[in-house]
Symmetry: C2
Subunit: 91 residues, 2 copies
Amino acid sequence: MKKKTSSDLSQMCKALGNPIRMKIFEHLKEADKCICGEIVNILPIAQATVSQHLKVLKTAGLIKGAICGPSTCYCINKDALDEFKKMVKEF
Amino acid sequence: MKKKTSSDLSQMCKALGNPIRMKIFEHLKEADKCICGEIVNILPIAQATVSQHLKVLKTAGLIKGAICGPSTCYCINKDALDEFKKMVKEF
DNA sequence: TCTCTTTATCGTAAATTTACGATTAATAAC
DNA sequence: GTTATTAATCGTAAATTTACGATAAAGAGA
């Protein structure tokens, strides 16, 4: 894994700096893993928007998505979360 | 001090989720304290924009500003930083 | 007082983000 | 095959953010 920089930290912060994405991440953290549709159900926003937010979290490296039949199964990227915590700790 | 919520964490993340603001905060952390003009000098952006970013950091509670003669002296809010670290640790 | 310095705020343009419905793509079930 | 389900992507509108120059406000020093 590539060494993370202050810029990576900023990007992760930005991804979590949106209340909807924070909720998604927290749900994923508690649910261990779940499909996109489940997230759509617990949030008051459209499916397209949820997909967009998931993409942002994925691009930031914070979550992983695996195609699973017709649906996509998302889970947090534990390594990235640990790295995030480590960076903030040393911040 | 009021109990911080997941929403406060999101707001702090958002404030640090901009590379310029991240730089400002890091500078303030190392410099202990400095006036606005010094920050303007080390960044490639206009004074008005720096002032705007400082306001965002201040609103998020991450920094404090004290009027000091004709200038304003900024410093990090150590309590808020500690609280931020604590929240991320327990995240 | 007048002038200079410093920084906040105003007004605004451009870029980005957020949100949506519609559509597409891909699999599952029949 | 057809149909239903699920999620990504497209196109786009609205909101927000970021940036700037100009101006205002407030203190320092002559």
